[in-house]
Point group: C2
Chain length 203, copies 2
């Protein structure tokens, strides 16, 4: 791992925890064990460090979804595998996705936010294709596709990102971080799969 990546990993951790604005370059440098000036040296500015972080982590899901759209024909099976991959990815990179979704709650359209928006829109586009194809194949009934995608994103975010609330609702042990609990993840997958099957097929 290069020093640059090392800084990005620490940045992800701190920004996920405290938010972008509340994360100072000094705390970042301190945690990464480097000099403050290195952030400007490597990235130019704090803002550009953030953009670099987005570049660093993005694109994984879209590639996976595109593969699924090409290689799995059965709409229901494909949907299950999509949920499986989606939940896996978000749980394994929950910090980054917390940053993404927190940023999407902003109303300001900065350069970084436009980047994030494009990444998520492409992912959404692949999911849309899945549902449309299933509808065309008469496996899925007609649903509000756009709101279905919003529901999917919103639910996963709520479960994996907004865990301060959800872990309390679900009542998991607050000592063990729910996001690292394998059982919690499996339960999320089962819930989402059942929900989407019922919603899309009516059965």
């Amino acid at each position: 791992m290069t020093k640059r990546e090392q800084i990005l990993e620490v940045a992800e951790e701190l920004i996920a925890e405290n938010g972008f604005e509340a994360t100072s370059v000094r705390s970042l440098a301190s945690k990464a064990g480097i000099n403050v000036a290195m952030i400007s040296y490597y990235f130019g500015s704090k803002e550009k460090l953030f953009e670099a972080l987005v570049e660093y982590r993005a694109g994984f899901l879209r590639e996976k979804f595109q593969t699924l759209n090409k290689e799995v024909e059965d709409p229901l099976l494909r949907m299950e595998q999509m949920i499986d991959a989606y939940v896996d990815r978000i749980f394994s990179h929950h910090r980054f996705h917390r940053i993404l979704h927190r940023q999407m709650m902003s109303t300001k359209s900065t350069v970084s936010n436009e980047n994030i928006l494009n990444i998520l829109l492409k992912n959404a586009g692949e999911v849309k294709k899945m549902i449309q194809d299933g509808e065309q194949k008469k496996v899925f009934r007609k649903v509000d596709i756009e709101f279905t995608i919003a529901m999917l994103i919103g639910t996963i975010s709520q479960i994996a990102v907004s865990c301060l609330l959800t872990s309390r609702i679900v009542g998991v042990n607050p000592n063990t971080e729910s996001i690292h609990d394998e059982q919690y993840k499996v339960r999320a997958k089962i819930f989402l799969t059942n929900l989407m099957r019922t919603h899309l097929t009516g059965k």
Copy 2:
């Protein structure tokens, strides 16, 4: 409206737009047309202003949900009215709920966050009662109640709060703010009602 409330309204607007950390007391005072010192004078500190804001807006939904639980017997009808009230409230106070849900994405447990958490947990408790009662009356089938609530919260947040993304997915005119579009709200209600009915009854 008192001066105090006037400050709270402006605070809500700015914090919803830029986040708590990124909202300076000076920009707040400027927009409210008051002196910076008035914030300390009325609230003591920036942090306490935030707590005052939470107090100022909280509690509305819980009272509504409690009334529904007492007065409406049919589980399905009650669920529909709950969704109706929930969506109405969040759309009419979308700025405040953006603040709430952004804060719930944090991992830090400050005094303010504990306040927010308690408010939302009480709301969730009322929804839980609704689902449990419907289950007992054999109108609803057995579902993962906790995750169902998380799905409900997550979906509404996604639709109403994270509108930078969702309005693009849904494809509404970005000129007209979707949150103020009556049709968008109606569509959200229809979607959620259908989704929950199918999910809870299997029909």
